[in-house]
């Protein structure tokens, strides 16, 4: 008996070491990727917070002696028809673009999360009614809903955030509801009920904290989706007209000069893509982390 036990322990130890070695190798390779993504996000967020440190020129400064210059050492992303330094405009433009991305995720995630949690925890007719409403909201594709709302409310940063947020509510509500329902049925919740805890206490202390992670993953990826939708609205001309254009508006303005100055259109698009790409890589990693089955891949 004892020999068998020792053999098994040794085997387990070896196996443990092998697994650790595999994990470590995976760790370094894919973590380098995630590290890059985090760096990109941090850099762009820094652009939004302290643009004056990063941008070499003022975004409104018109350098009349260098109009429509292609990218060079002096003007990394070139200049536009007013002689503005595109790199500086992109750096300052990150403010509005990121604000739309983050603010609409916070508004949409909170609203959708609350609807989903209420629906899933209450169950019964309330659940049925809320989920039918959610199904209905889902039949209108996000960009159309956002367009209709932004178009009818008029051009303002707040209205764009609202439009993008409303369009994202059904997705958050759905994922939150299914997670709440799956946690609600676990034994530890039944134990808590048997111990006499009130439904509100159980919800707040046990169900909600255990249900949040899928919503957080979705919200991470949602920052990217919201920036895509928001800049799409700007591109279609529903964006806010300000002295410093956001990425979508800048891109749409540059479209008219496509044949003579490709760089005006290209670089704001690179900024959008890089940021959304980085956010998606981070979101993927978070999701794999939460799913033990997938973390072994």
């Amino acid at each position: 008996m004892r020999e068998a036990a020792t053999a098994s322990t040794i085997w387990q130890k070896q196996r443990g070491r092998r697994l650790a070695a595999i994990r470590f190798r995976r760790f370094t390779a894919s973590n380098l990727f995630v590290l890059g993504a985090v760096t990109v996000v941090l850099f762009i967020v820094a652009c939004a917070i302290v643009p004056s440190i990063i941008a070499p020129y003022s975004p409104t400064e018109m350098l009349t002696d260098s109009i429509m210059q292609p990218p060079s050492a002096a003007h990394l992303f070139g200049t536009d028809y007013f002689g503005r330094d595109i790199f500086s405009v992109v750096v300052y433009g990150s403010r509005d673009s990121l604000f739309i991305g983050f603010a609409s995720v916070i508004v949409g995630g909170l609203a959708g999360g609350a609807i989903g949690a209420l629906s899933g925890y209450a169950g019964g007719w309330l659940d049925a009614v809320l989920m039918r409403c959610n199904d209905i909201l889902m039949t209108i594709p996000g960009i159309l809903l956002a367009l209709a709302i932004a178009g009818a409310l008029g051009k303002s940063l707040f209205n764009i955030v609202l439009a993008v947020a409303v369009a994202s509510i059904p997705g958050y509500a759905r994922i939150m509801r299914s997670q709440i329902i799956s946690i609600k049925g676990r034994t530890f919740i039944q134990a808590s009920q048997a111990a006499g805890a009130s439904p509100l206490h159980i919800f707040w202390k046990h169900v909600l904290p255990n249900s949040l992670s899928p919503l957080l993953v979705m919200a991470t990826i949602g920052v990217g989706t919201s920036i895509l939708t928001g800049s799409g609205l700007s591109f279609l001309g529903l964006g806010v007209l300000r002295e410093v254009p956001d990425w979508g508006t800048l891109l749409s303005q540059g479209r008219g000069y496509l044949t003579v100055a490709w760089w005006i259109c290209t670089f704001p698009g690179v900024a959008i893509t890089l940021f959304v790409l980085a956010v998606n890589i981070i979101g993927d990693r978070l999701r794999d982390q939460l799913d033990p089955k997938k973390s072994m891949r």
Binding site: I136, G151, A152, L153, F235, L251, G269, I272, L277, R297
Partner: protein, 306 residues
């Protein structure tokens, strides 16, 4: 039972969408008379007359019941700009949008399925790397940007395809590619991850143990199981792609319902906006109903559980 239930719930959702579309534009500010009359010359009597003509001076419930009964009879109202019936406008422009959506969905489904399956089978190999890059970029690039890049490359520099217009198959290539890449990105990721889930299932071991060839194990059993989430996704993506034409048709200056919607928004022509939104939602519901019904063919478990 399954089929009847799905049809009934689809009808309910369509009715709900009808109410929602009305509510969005009733609740939101903006008066159609501002669109139709120049505020600088319009007298209060003219405004009141027009409101009476349009019925917007009526109480909510009368407006609502008139709207519902019109919509049910297929009357989507008239454009505020030129009084053209909205439904005619949509039907005139729909074929161009349908062609674009269908070709994009085909591009997305073919690229997505092939790359997704190959990347799962040859995990961590070069094909897998390509598939993951395509997947990530597909879902991360804004279509108005990738479309412009394609124009710069294939139209302005190489001159292979026209940059704009909506006649002939050549004008369809770039827009369909732009929209298809996004769909392919979503499908690759979904197929890859569901194939990997299935490859790790115990029944795969059983299939190999009973001596089936790797080809049959993968392409008959694994693929068939992985198809169900993929088909669901294609169904949802068709709705998104139909909506995505709002942007694509603007980028490529194509005629279509996406284009009339964005033009109508700029002109505050609300009946057209309402009409296009409801029409798109209707197609979305129908496509998803067909997708649900297709499960009965793909997945015997659905058939048996009904």
């Amino acid at each position: 039972m399954f089929i009847a239930g799905r049809i009934l719930s689809s009808l309910l959702v369509i009715a709900g969408t009808l109410v929602l579309v009305f509510a969005i534009l009733y609740v939101l500010p903006g008066d159609p008379t501002d669109t139709m009359l120049d505020p600088s010359v319009a007298t209060p009597e003219m405004v009141a007359n027009l409101k009476h003509q349009l019925g917007t001076d009526q109480p909510f419930y009368i407006q609502f019941s008139r709207y519902i009964s019109d919509m049910v009879r297929g009357d989507f109202g008239n454009s505020l700009l030129n009084s053209e019936p909205v439904l005619n406008k949509i039907i005139d422009h729909f074929p161009a949008t349908l062609a674009l959506t269908a070709v994009s969905a085909l591009v997305a489904a073919v690229f997505g399925l092939v790359l997704g399956v190959l990347s799962a089978i040859h995990r961590n190999g070069p094909i897998d790397l390509i598939a993951r890059v395509v997947g990530l970029f597909g879902i991360s690039m804004p279509t108005f940007w990738s479309g412009i890049l394609l124009i710069v490359l294939f139209s302005l520099n190489l001159g292979w395809f026209p940059a704009m217009g909506s006649g002939g198959w050549k004008t369809l290539v770039l827009p369909a590619l732009t929209l298809g890449i996004v769909g392919a990105g979503f499908i690759v990721r979904m197929v890859r991850s569901s194939m990997l889930d299935i490859i790790n299932e115990h029944f795969m071991l059983t299939l190999r143990a009973k001596g089936l060839s790797e080809r049959i194990v993968m392409y008959k059993h694994a693929l068939r199981n992985a198809l169900i989430p993929a088909v669901t996704m294609v169904g949802m993506l068709i709705g998104e792609m139909l909506a995505g034409t709002v942007v694509i048709e603007t980028v490529f200056s194509r005629q279509g319902i996406g284009r009339i919607m964005s033009d109508a928004l700029m002109a505050k022509d609300l009946p057209v906006v309402q009409g296009v939104i409801f029409f798109t939602a209707l197609i979305y519901v129908i496509v998803n109903l067909l997708v649900d019904l297709s499960y009965t063919v793909i997945d015997p478990r659905v058939r048996r559980s009904t």
